[in-house]
Amino acid sequence: MTVATTIVTEPTVVTGKLPGRWRRLPGKAKAGVVLMGMFILAAIIGPMVAPYDPGYQNPLPSLKLAAPSAAHLLGTTQTGQDLLSQLLTGIRLTLELGLLVGVIATLLSVIVGVTAAFLGGVWDELLLLVTNVFLVIPALPLLIILLGYLSDKGQLPTILVLSLLGWPWGARVIRAQTLAIRGRDFIAAARETGESSWRIITFEIVPNQVSLIAANFVNTVLYAIGASVALAFIGLTDVNSWSLGTILYWAESENALQLGAWWWFIPAGLAVALMGTGLVLLNSGIDEFGNPRLRDASNASRVAGRRVRATDPTPVLHEPASRGRVGSFLHSFSRASLYDGGLAGVPEEKEGAK
């Protein structure tokens, strides 16, 4: 994952045209793109095509907890609200929250990660220590007390709080990748030609880890959607707005389950699950893009009945980091300090796909 970025772009550049590119995408990524495309479409046009006002309580007694029918494709709630309209409105709010948190938190990750790796020494170790502390403190309970104390639990505060706690994972991975890139020749060349640090960061380092940043963005969106739905489910949100989480909150609090009203909670939950699947597929697609070995065996050629894969690209030699006294002291508290001393196959930053 850390070394393959340079080879990645090659096949796509050669083909150029969109259909060719599309065919070369790993199957998982295709499925992810299609799934997410559907949800984004639903988020854009959903509220416009929604047949009813999601909050309108139809007083007709026959529409009280009515099963799906032609007029109400996904049935109605206890108070006669149309569930399809709620779902269509809810997808927009949930996706909007996820994407915004993704953008803000990824930006924070890039800033912290690149800064740490670029400054090096004590600052690096200090930032890494802070990152590790926030990584190890479980986010959801902290989110619960933060939102619990806020009197305004609407969309914006939730986005801010989720972003505030969503950056450490990405910062760690991006820092590791920046450290790997920083030692490459082209960075040294850029420095020799007198490029400023800012220019090196924005034009040499960040563009070289776009696939990593993209994967991290997708992961963060996944985290934000999962966390916001869970928070809404326990009632820590504006329960009068329509998101996928609040639909589930009302279904639970109005005992939809005990009343056998499956149409109340199944579609919303399914939407969350499908959105999550789309994001995971997209992410593993990006991952396989960056690491050819993870691709399906169908891409590998067969020689005498055995699969043969391209060998590992030339590994980048990590130069031992120069940390200084305080820096090494801070470093010795990290798990990574176990693997100091240039051992092969260092598992330092291989967190995997979660």
């Binding site: 403190i137 479980p138 007390i145 869970a230 939950g269 597929l281 993870l294 508290f333 967190e351």
Partner: protein
């Protein structure tokens, strides 16, 4: 030993950060928690303002520094104040009743999911492209389902429709908790569905991660060399490839634990399981801030301790780490 001690120091720092954040949140958020509670219960007399602020520790006398020291002292003695919703009971006594339930349920099912997922990941990674590997997208779907939603469906199908399992509670209502077989068997029976939920939703994550590391490890020269020597496949898979692929997996275990525990806690709400999750829900709905804060600290400490255990396991499982420890 030196490494473990240093890690211990790191976790102490993390715990201190959690404690400090927990101390400052009620004091830093805009708006006033006391007024929020007053607004929620309009029949409270103005005199209750003082009582509530005393209970939350917001209006405490003394400087901020003094309050901080008192707070740390209280936490060290497991004194989290008095509960708001079940008034005379102390928070720590309520926690004491619920923690064992969550600890046993989440602990056991997480370990099962980890072992199962790692095993399946080894198989999927070794037979890369086989049927197990191709079923991964389906498993990803299971992983993407929110814990509580899967719980809702399982209750609907197994408890409401088929009556195969109880729909809620931790044990049969007619039983007195204690160390006798009736109670224990009832508790196990009631925990099967919640445990199943945790295993189903988290197994794919472990599997995917193990599979990815496994695929990379199998390409290493020493694995190819082992195969070329003519070693039996079983030996190559487990002793050469899986043993090395397990280390990143273990590191992931410590970090992913927070997610699993958080998800499991929300899931408890659906099952009405008498653990921390249910307590947290009642704390949220009744604006019971002392309880919410105590639960946050408790979960954080549990995750930190689990991480320390993982560190110890890593040192023992990784010969390089062991050798380094010996020379330090």
């Amino acid at each position: 030993m030196a490494f473990i001690l240093r890690r211990l120091a790191f976790y102490v720092v993390a715990a201190w950060v959690a404690l400090t954040v927990n101390f400052f949140i009620p004091r830093a958020v805009p708006g006033n928690a006391v007024e929020a509670i007053m607004a929620k219960f309009p029949n409270l007399t103005p005199g209750a303002y003082k009582a509530i602020s005393a209970m939350l520790g917001v209006g405490k006398a003394g400087s901020l520094g003094h309050q901080y020291v008192t707070y740390l002292d209280d936490v060290a003695h497991f004194n989290f104040g008095t509960d708001v919703s079940q008034y005379p009971a102390s928070v720590s006594s309520l926690l004491g009743q619920t923690v064992p339930w969550t600890l046993i349920l989440v602990g056991t099912s997480t370990v099962i999911a980890f072992l199962l997922g790692t095993g399946l990941g080894i198989m999927a990674g070794w037979r890369n492209g086989g049927w197990l590997d191709r079923s991964l997208p389906g498993l990803m779907f299971l992983q993407a389902i929110p814990y509580f939603f899967l719980a809702l469906i399982l209750v609907e199908v197994f408890a409401v429709k088929w009556h195969a399992f109880p729909a809620g509670q931790g044990y049969d209502g007619g039983l007195v908790p204690g160390w006798h077989w009736d109670f224990i068997s009832s508790a196990i029976y009631h925990s099967i569905l919640p445990a199943f939920t945790i295993v189903i939703t988290s197994v794919a994550g472990w599997m995917l991660q193990m599979r990815n590391v496994m695929v990379t490890t199998i390409g290493e020269d020493y694995v190819v060399a082992a195969q070329a020597k003519g070693l039996p496949n079983r030996r190559v898979v487990f002793t050469y490839a899986a043993r090395n692929a397990l280390l990143p997996q273990l590191q992931g275990f410590g970090l992913a634990l927070g997610f699993v525990v958080s998800g499991a806690i929300v899931m408890e709400i659906v099952f009405g399981y008498p653990g921390i999750g249910l307590l947290l829900l009642s704390a949220v709905t009744s604006s019971d801030f002392p309880m919410m804060q105590a639960i946050f600290l408790l979960i954080t400490f549990a995750v930190l301790i689990a991480n320390l255990v993982v560190d110890v396991i890593i040192v023992f499982a990784d010969p390089r780490a062991r050798a380094k420890e010996a020379t330090r």
